[in-house]
Symmetry: C2
Subunit: 353 residues, 2 copies
């Protein structure tokens, strides 16, 4: 079955889920233009998840994906590491004259995907994508019984094989070029950092599922190359970063549009989990301090207040400027126009449904 | 002008120069099959350079490239750092029961490309490729006056632009997937680690020269993708690593063929310069020691004896197992057969000259 048939979309182009950037309006714009929008809800409460799904549904009657974080939530971290990091953060707050309030450990609320499944089932979400892990077998069964199509994220061949074995329908191959968090869930070795040109065909050869390319894609050339490499679909994130429907602050958009091919780096500074963003002062300060960075989601919670303040007040040096290696090629404009312009340059044999 | 016309070859496929692996026989086999062989001579004496060129010429009358190291040779390192590293190396020698002799600093001979230019001019080398820097203007003039075509190596857009400004004819865009040494020469920021899918089109857009893709290429799909991304030629290194004409030891070939997409990492452990190789015990030991690694070429000279011993005695844990992220897809066989098989799967409109 063709990927477009499988997902009931006109064009095999997905908008990458970007928590904090993607809005219901972005998801709906992509869906209405014939692509697959992806609504990121990782870590959000069931109520917030429901609210975002309803907001998206109010703007489109086309299918869209809801994207979950499927990581282990049992990871713990020491109070000493948290305290040391909080001292550093307090100093950074002070540098910028931002009022600091020390979060209590009990505030570290982060919902697991298990908490969100009921909402997804209730709303009959047709496509459920996820990253950071495998869904537990019972959840896979539940979602598939309802007819949901499952899309997992792999950053290396072994992860792709594990996803196939777990029963997913489609694999996203996330190359090292990709912006935002690495979807990596195998932690018995160094972080996989395989470039799309190498990763994609190796995953295509290793699994029998359709593979969606992610990482580095920004125009017709790169999308066509992904298809040549064996992808049946493509997922673009940074491509929509500067769009009108993006929740990225003006400082964030400006930083992305003035970046270069070497502006980004992988960092654990913001969330405790490896992610690619434009290098800024916060990343450098945390890395230079050579502290033990509390593991995700602790560090994510510790920096949440600072990141939110920086977004609201346009302080690019403190924002997690997630962006891929091709992000500077992003453009401003309506997400639907950006997508349509890309589609026009591709030779799809299928007309919009 | 087409790249094949410019280089007087039948197919726009280059064999990547792999010092210590590439032999005159490999270069000649590729040349005779219609590709462009590249003879690596970086750091070698003028006499050795001459000997290798003559050996290659004795096996082919087709053009081939000679590849130089164009790095700054003025970099110095402290005797204390060298002594500390030598202590670590002595311990590693002891671990493996290998007789250790402490090299004197005067033994750190490494010829600069300026020492080799006379030989290249004398032998009328038609294509001179280089990495690790820019050739000085006088050398560019000398080589161009003789009619040599110059190929420089870029790992980011800024390097490509500098190469174009320096007067080279062709740029190799080396993606992060590539095995062996990074060609990086801009040192005012972190090491560029841009994936081919992102780097290649961005370099194509930034310069008006023909661009050759390198990094991650291993089959017809990846080569076709590189052309779609705007490359006019492709350079494959690891593809020839396990060939009959490769000087890689059996232990090295076995390690490559049994690798995976995540087996390699970037390291400075062997040479002092960043290079991609299969992770092994030596890399881990040097990195875990967290010493100051003497800069290239000092570290390269310090580890030369150990690497040579390991190659001769098939000790994969001590060999610099340079390999790219797609290297496990390499095949054994004659280099000419490997290349011909690849060419047959591509749709070139040109017949062998």
């Amino acid at each position: 079955m063709k990927l477009t048939t499988q997902l009931a979309i006109a064009y095999p182009i997905l908008q990458g889920p970007m928590l904090g950037v993607t809005t219901p309006a972005m998801v709906a714009a992509v869906a209405n233009a014939g692509g697959l929008g992806s609504l990121p809800v990782g870590g959000l409460s069931p109520e917030k998840t429901h609210e975002l799904i309803l907001a998206t549904k109010s703007k489109t009657d086309k299918p869209f994906a809801v994207n979950l974080f499927a990581h282990e939530t049992s990871v713990s971290t020491s109070q000493a590491d948290i305290d040391t990091m909080l001292n550093l953060l307090e100093a950074i707050y002070e540098d910028y004259g931002i009022p600091f309030s020390r979060p209590a450990l009990t505030e570290f609320n982060f919902y697991s995907y298990q908490d969100q499944i009921e909402v997804l089932l209730h709303e009959q979400i047709p496509i459920v994508s996820f990253t950071f892990g495998l869904l537990e077998p019972a959840v896979v069964d539940q979602l598939k019984q309802q007819g949901s199509t499952l899309i997992g994220t792999a950053t290396c061949v072994r992860e792709a094989i594990l996803l196939e074995e777990s029963g997913v329908d489609i694999v996203v191959a996330q190359g090292v070029e990709a912006g935002g968090h690495r979807g990596t869930f195998l932690t018995d070795g160094p972080l996989p950092q395989v470039g799309s040109l190498s990763l994609l065909p190796q995953i295509v050869d290793a699994v029998s599922l359709p593979v969606i390319a992610a990482g580095g894609l920004f125009d017709a050339r790169t999308v066509k190359a992904a298809f040549v490499l064996g992808a049946e679909g493509v997922q673009l994130g940074s491509f929509f970063l500067a769009s009108d429907e993006s929740a990225a602050s003006e400082a964030y958009k400006t930083a992305v549009l003035s970046a270069s091919d070497t502006s980004t780096a992988l960092t654990r500074a913001f969330s405790g989990r490896w992610a690619r963003g434009i290098t800024n002062r916060f990343m450098e300060q945390v890395e230079q301090a050579t502290l033990t960075i509390p593991y995700y989601t602790y560090q994510n919670s510790l920096t949440a207040g600072l990141r939110a303040y920086a977004q609201q007040n346009n302080i690019p040096e403190l924002i997690s400027l997630w962006a891929g290696q091709s992000a500077s090629n992003s453009r401003r404009g309506k997400a639907s126009d950006l997508l349509r312009s890309l589609i026009e340059q591709l030779d799809f044999d299928q007309e919009p449904v």
